[in-house]
């Protein structure tokens, strides 16, 4: 292992954790963790999902109490009993999942988090000021529900900066940003560092860690496996430290150029849709074709109509006019989701718990959720009584679990008992098990650890190579470049033209996601 152990970053560390341990029941989420953060450094915390990063950070921030171990802040032993205590010490946190109220304005949301009361217009003014200083422009009077994820993140960061913290903890901040937005964020972070503030940066995007961070601490299974200088490492050496073994590289065999005409399996033509609520995005004139054997990646920052597009393709929202959505040559515009599944389509939504699966139902029941209509013969018996065939469900679940390498602690656990990665493997496996001819997946590896993500991506590529049409909607550009044959981007409810992956660059993808790729609009008509 190429771990270069570095002694304490500075003589006077800002924060030092010694032998920090947190035990939940029988699980050691954090096991004797030592961590030193110096003043004015960007310190990366690396690790797969479930490595203990969140638990560690919550202990530092006061949201959780350590089972044992000590925390020193500016040389003093401290007990951080609550987030409020954390903030008063000077520790600020920007969570991965924002805690903002959609129906309130940016300024109101900021006011809610302040420990001291202050008049709203004063807060709005301060927020705007800080925004300008650090390159985080926001409109304090905008309703949060109307803002993009990137803008919401800015509110979270500003809210954190208003407390004037010495240490800012950022949890996976770039997972929701375009490359250009991420670049802006890095400028902000570097500026904060130059002012002597420290940043604890949690990420599994190794490229940006190498680019941005001064030091890194790598966690695996709740233990520190190494400290290193990320700039002296390669992405693969960092990945190896995180995972403990080499990461599977996606194999994407080249498509054979055949003379045969491509067979379109999924077509969307001139699909427009009004917003369905105050926080929903309208779709404008969407056109796309996905042929057999093709994987189309749809890039875009969250909140640009991807969920609406997903719902429109899946049939959870049906079209008013016929001829908009065609699955395997048949007009599906006005069919419900079950009928579309029967045409050979399968869907994996973004939200795992509460949409694609029900948290407190067992895996077998969650299998039935999306398969009861297509596999009626297998899973439902007893004629009109429609009895649920538990034994066939158990068999099918077992098949999926072994095929997708789903790790679970019980025979048939509730969906909520699985980690994000394992549940996602199960939900993708649930659809692959049917060998669908069309598969639409929204954010397949969101919040999924590297090992599981690689397995999921390979499974998606394989499905396309076996002759299905696959659409992957994702915010993760690296992922799309890894698996797509064609790529398009969504912005403000519009979809760009699909471009062969060979013709794509990161920069062009970023421009498409920003809606600035001029070629996409002019060519749009030709696609349909």
């Amino acid at each position: 292992m190429t771990t270069t152990t570095i002694k304490d970053g500075t003589e006077n560390p800002l924060l030092e954790a010694r032998k920090l341990t947190k035990i939940f029941g029988t699980l050691k989420a954090c096991d004797g963790i030592d961590l030193t953060i110096g003043a004015g450094e960007i310190h990366a915390l690396l690790g797969e999902n479930g490595a203990g990063k969140s638990t560690l950070v919550k202990m530092l921030f006061g949201a959780l109490q350590p089972t044992s171990g000590e925390i020193f802040w500016k040389g003093q032993a401290v007990t951080v009993t609550s987030p409020a205590v954390g903030r008063s010490l000077g520790i600020g946190m920007v969570f991965q999942h924002f805690s903002l109220f959609d129906a309130l304005t940016a300024a109101e949301n900021i006011a809610l988090s302040l420990d001291k009361k202050a008049p709203l217009d004063r807060i709005a003014e301060r927020a705007k000021e800080i925004g300008q200083t650090y390159g985080l422009p926001i409109d304090p009077d905008a309703l949060v529900g109307d803002l993009s994820v990137g803008e919401r993140q800015r509110i979270e960061i500003i809210r954190c900066l208003l407390q004037n913290p010495d240490l800012i903890i950022l949890d996976e901040p770039t997972s929701v940003l375009t490359p250009q937005e991420a670049d802006l964020l890095f400028v902000t972070l570097e500026r904060l560092r130059s002012e002597g503030k420290s940043i604890l940066y949690i990420s599994h995007r190794l490229e940006e860690v190498r680019r941005l961070c001064d030091r890194a601490t790598v966690l695996r299974h709740g233990k520190v496996v190494g400290h290193c200088d990320p700039r002296g490492e390669t992405t693969s050496s960092l990945a190896r430290m995180m995972v403990g073994s080499d990461i599977h590289i996606i194999e994407r065999p080249a498509v054979e150029k055949s003379e045969a005409m491509p067979i379109p399996l999924l077509q969307i033509s001139a699909l427009s849709q009004k917003p369905r609520g105050p926080f929903s995005v309208a779709l404008h004139d969407i056109n796309l074709v996905v042929n057999a054997g093709e994987l189309l990646g749809i890039a875009g920052v969250a909140g640009n109509g991807q969920s609406e597009l997903f719902d429109a393709i899946s049939g959870e929202v049906q079209q008013e006019q016929p001829g908009r959505i065609t699955i395997r040559g048949l007009d599906a515009s006005q069919l419900g989701i079950s009928a579309r599944r029967k045409l050979g389509a399968a869907f994996v939504p973004e939200e795992r718990l509460g949409h694609g699966a029900i948290p407190d139902m067992a895996l077998t029941q969650n299998l039935l959720l999306s398969r009861h209509s297509t596999d009626k013969k297998v899973f439902v018996s007893g004629g009109l009584l429609k009895l649920v065939a538990q034994s066939s469900l158990a068999m099918a679940a077992k098949r999926i679990v072994s095929k997708m390498d789903v790790r679970k602690s019980a025979e048939n656990p509730d969906a909520s008992a699985l980690s994000g990665g394992n549940l996602q493997k199960f939900l993708i496996g649930r659809e692959l098990d049917r060998s669908p001819s069309v598969l639409v997946v929204n954010q397949p590896t969101w919040g999924v650890d590297a090992g599981a993500a690689a397995l999921i991506r390979q499974a998606l590529v394989n499905l396309a190579r076996n002759g299905s049409a696959v659409i992957v909607i994702s915010q993760d550009l690296d992922e799309l470049f890894e698996i797509s044959d064609m790529m398009a981007a969504m912005v403000h409810g519009r979809l760009s033209q699909s471009v062969p992956i060979e013709a794509m660059t990161m920069e062009r993808a970023g421009l498409m996601m920003g809606g600035a790729d001029a070629s996409s609009h002019s060519l749009n008509a030709g696609v349909a």
Binding site: S99, L112, E316, R341, G354, I358, M361, S373
Partner: protein, 363 residues
Amino acid sequence: MRLELVRRPQHSALFSALSPFIALFLTLIAGAILFTILGKNPLAALYSYFVEPLTEVWSIHELLIKAAPLILIAVGLSVCFLSNNWNIGAEGQFIAGGIAGSILPIVFPDFQGWYVLPLMLLLGMAGGAAYATIPAFLKVRFNTNEILTSLMLVYVAQLFLDWLVRGPWRNPQGYNFPETIQFNASAILPEIWTASGRAHWGFILAVLAAFAVWFTLSRTLSGFEIKVFGRSARAGRFAGFSAGKLTFFAFLISGALAGLAGIAEVSGAVGQLRTSISPGYGFTAIIVAFLGRLNPLGIVAAGLVLALTYLGGEAAQISLGVSEKSARIFQGIMLFFILASDTLIYYRIRIVSRLGDAAAKGA
């Protein structure tokens, strides 16, 4: 200082199973305290309330009479509540069923034969179901709150029954008492075991209904659909189920069972229509449904427990001289403890001094 409910990371399976018993136990304690304050001997009071009615065969019959409508209604309500349809108007559906089923013996008293009773029961179910479709339709079509509409329709039904019995359906030979004619023999739901007491077939119907609904919920795709929608409407749509259809289904089932309870009560226990045919069965059944953990088999047991409070109320009125309304107090206390223990199994109470704040706990 304020109190906050914080979700427990894990809830105890043991206490989940014990929760109805804990609630019962706490209800008894609270009842004992109440009787002590009233100056009664608490042990004697609880004895006459909860034990004495069980010591004689005739009063066990009375228990079954009271339990039958509670179980029938609560079983139907479990379908509603499990699917997130908050039907609070079972009392009205009960009355609608009673009225609809009584059309035959009151309007056509000469229409007699073995087929009259089955027809009455079917009419009762149809009446209750039809009355329940009103809040279902309003919810599906106009997105109204079914709690309010179903509850308000209870008062409509009560007033309509009052008007019928005082007006068009009043017994002409009844000395102006607000009562209809007595049902003829073929319109009376027979007793199960005439020799020992007057419990009628309503209880058997209730147990059958409980088994049927239990089977549907636990074994069939429809039951699955109900449970899916109760947990997440979004996942239900993803599964391809229709929320509107399910709302109608749940209200129809619970309306039909409440209607059946209504006509069974009128035809089995009363034998005519009166201005009031229910001591609040439709509302008490809500407690029964939750005490039975929304499980139809649990509801059979819970129905018997709540029926006991009605009998105990009557017994206590005679032996202790407290109002029979004390039964309502017991029911209220019990609902409070059921909900409280269920809540405390999933949440713990935290006392927050001034500094705590909600936003920071976002993760």
